[in-house]
Amino acid sequence: MHKLETEVLVIGGGATGTGVAWDAALRGFKVILVERRDLTHGTSGRYHGLLHSGGRYAVKDPHGAAECIAENQILRVTHAHCIEDTSGFFVVLPEDEGEYPDKFKAGCDAVGIPCTEISVAEALRREPLLNPRISRVFEVPDGSSDSFLAAHATAQAARNAGAQILTYHEVTNLLLAGSESDRRVAGAMVHNVVTGEDMEIHADITINAAGAWTGKLAAMAGIEITIMPSKGTMVAMNHRLVNTVVNRCKVPSDGDIIVPSHTVCVIGTTSINVPDPEPLRIEPWEVQKMLEEGDKMVPGFAQARVLRAWAGVRPLFQDTYTSGKGRDVTRKLALLDHKEREGVSGFLTITGGKWTTFRLMAEATVDDICRHLGTERPCTTATTPVPGAEQGHYWLGHRLHDIEENRLQSELVCECELVTRTMVENAARRNPLLTLDDLRRDVRLGKGPCQGGFCTYRAAGILHEMKKAGSWEVDMSDEAGSTAKWEVAYLQSPAHNLTSDADGHQSSEQPANTADAFNPNLLLRDFLQERWKGVTPILWGRQLKQERLDELIYMSLMNVDHLPDKGLASPVTDFYHFDTRPTVEEVADV
């Protein structure tokens, strides 16, 4: 059996995990990160994209608010290109609590969140669709963040500093060593989901950054951690009805925030305890609630075209169980030293928190790693921009501008989201790819109005051509030396992908796919199903018409349901078949 040795093993490829790998690698540790699926498969890839100013916590959790604003300012430098400087409004609707707005302002002032009250007229001038009946508006430095790009850029930074990033590597067991009184986690047994190969990774210290799966992972070491999965559903609208983050200025609750994110705006969210982080159902009442709440901030919201719905799970850690809704449980980060708590050394769990504070969580974690490994190495992530940050903040029109400047219109594969053929090819070469869904995360394929209607076919065709042309060599080397090609931090920029990487080997620690796992017919069917999964909860009106056209294309024209290789499945095929159809309406017990 293949064995790898390292100092730090990070389990989990979300924001936290990649952040820890980055921080630890910068501090000179030898790091391996394993993620059971693609980076950001978990909660990091399923939230509403908010870069918190901290305003939402200013009243109830000043400490959390202070953390947010500090990290907000840091990330704007280190991950500049992953952030859009949208600014944020807190708006007071007629029905919002009387005292809260003033408490809000005071709270922001107290923890140093820049908070300016602006006139309603000014707010309406900047956001014409806002409810004209709002009475007060506060502006704060909220932003919109792209967690996919951030994870890629952070992972690339880690790799540049010597880390190994192994996606589609699932931990099947923790390696336990030592006696009764001196238990130790010595690493993990890992299963390569694509090749089926098993391997052992031996590590001096293992970090549990598995997000919503934290409890399951800890249980492999006999440790009980109570993680309360709190599901939040989000709904994306077809276009940006607002270009500023809009929050209700009241005690946080369901559906009180609209975040403009790339070409869509996202309304969220709910908070429902669920038994498992996966799979997640979206209930009709949740969708309805989101649209109704959106309508209060932006009248007419509920009549706009709804594009997609998804759910993510907040991993809420409870040291002592208290009854009540998820939202009331702390969102604080929790770093659990299992040597102190349960007498198991070599194992740390980092959980809780929010995307905005991922770097801080990583810093705390790696500080503790230093302590455990007996060295003192200072953290440098706060002042070290990751690759791509030199591009400056994301701005909405940048892809359109790149396409225009370079006349790339005929290169477009996903026309809705302006993804060029070269972006697809480079993403496939640079980042291990199992499904078209991975491409979606890399370059936004299929995320627009037609939800893959046109680009699914094109992407499958292109990948197949690449395979046939042999321009997709597999580099089995474990060397982290070939970093130049793993330029994943630039995947989303058409201008940075004017030339194809065709000359280079695909540089990654694992083969992208085996002959079976990669099969264009399977890619097609899986992605069509994946897109379907996210639209059934919101399919009516215009999106239903769109879906019927997509059916015409893939059934009537392409006859995709009668392509060969019907029996094939990928490791994620079943995941996509999770039934998300609306059920008969139930009223939630709130």
């Binding site: 009709p284 197949h464 199903q529 009516w540 059934m555 392409m558 006859n559 060969p564 059920t583």
Partner: protein, 425 residues
Amino acid sequence: MSDLLIIGAGLSGLMAAYTAVKAGMRVNVAAKGLGSLHWCAGTIDVLGYTAEQPNVPVKRPLEQISALVETHPQHPYALLTNEHLAQTLATFVALSKDIGVPYGGANNPGDNLLLPSPAGAARPAYLAPKGQLAGDLSRTEPMLIVGFEGLRDFYPELIAENLTKQGYSARAAFLPKKLATNRRDFTNVQLAQGMDSKEQRALLGPALKKLVRPGERIGLPAILGIKAHATILAELERETGAPIFEIPTLPPSVPGVRLYTALRSYLQGLGVHLTAGMEVLTAKTVAPNGVPGTVQWVESATSARPLKLLADKYLLATGGILGGGFNSEMNGRVWETIFDLPLTVPQERADWFQASFLSPQGHPVFSGGVSVNKAFQPAAENGQPLYANLWAAGKLLAHSDAIQERSTEGIAIATGVAAAQALSS
């Protein structure tokens, strides 16, 4: 004022217009935009798959339909006898020749063709335009699938590989983009329009000749001209010595555009007024003695005052959910937008879909529609027409999922022609 106002310019509306004008009626066609012919493969699909045998393409659709209407007596095909259905299809074939876009069927009459899809699957179709016929997979010649570098809507390697996996002999090749176009940016339709120019296509034949092996037939993306299509086909076959066939690809559909353009010209030549940009919004109906009522006029949206469109008779051919004839909302309600005709679509979203996108059962929301009586009039349960002067045809009819069973054009032609016959007698 006309004798017949047809609302909708898809294939069913256009076939109804043809039938009615030949019967001596003054016909107007009003459509919101251009019709669904622009999205489809350009073939006439009569019946491709049945729910009982979802994985086996139907071999002889007309015979299969005889069985289908036994078990599905409400299916739109059940509104015609098998002979009548065959006649309507024959009408289409004859018309296609008259308009210069001739259609034909399999070598063995009554069989479905099996044509390569742009993904390389074998898609059943009953009739195809001449330019696609040589692609019938029941022919034995090995296939050379030729694409052009940089054409994003056509992947010859994928097509050839999938055909090979199904036991057909196929290989792929690429030609440089400049043989297809000098434009940097284009759609398939613009490519095809470019091919109408002799200069643009001058080098294509010789290049293909270099690639092709004796005995092969050549498959190309459907970009071989719009006006000069027939000429181009003949030219290429002569220059290469090989049969040539087109494979339709992502919308907009070039074969669909050819058929639409030719049909529209022909109909206008017969005196039919066909106007796009006329969105019919509402109808004024009266029902002084209950059912059946009468349609007095319909109103279309203009840049100012709604426009009254008057006719003796009205035919609704607005296409259901995709065509825009039906709308739907979050609470599960689905409605027909002009006359508010009762629909058989489930009115609960929980009942609309299957869990799997490609489910062989099809999604129930799409098979619902307008119920008609034997005279193609929207009717109550007992067959009483709801309006004395209203008929309906095409994809909006209830009790079939035409995309699922691959019967879109067959139902369009059959019901369009038959409804027009019913209303003109």
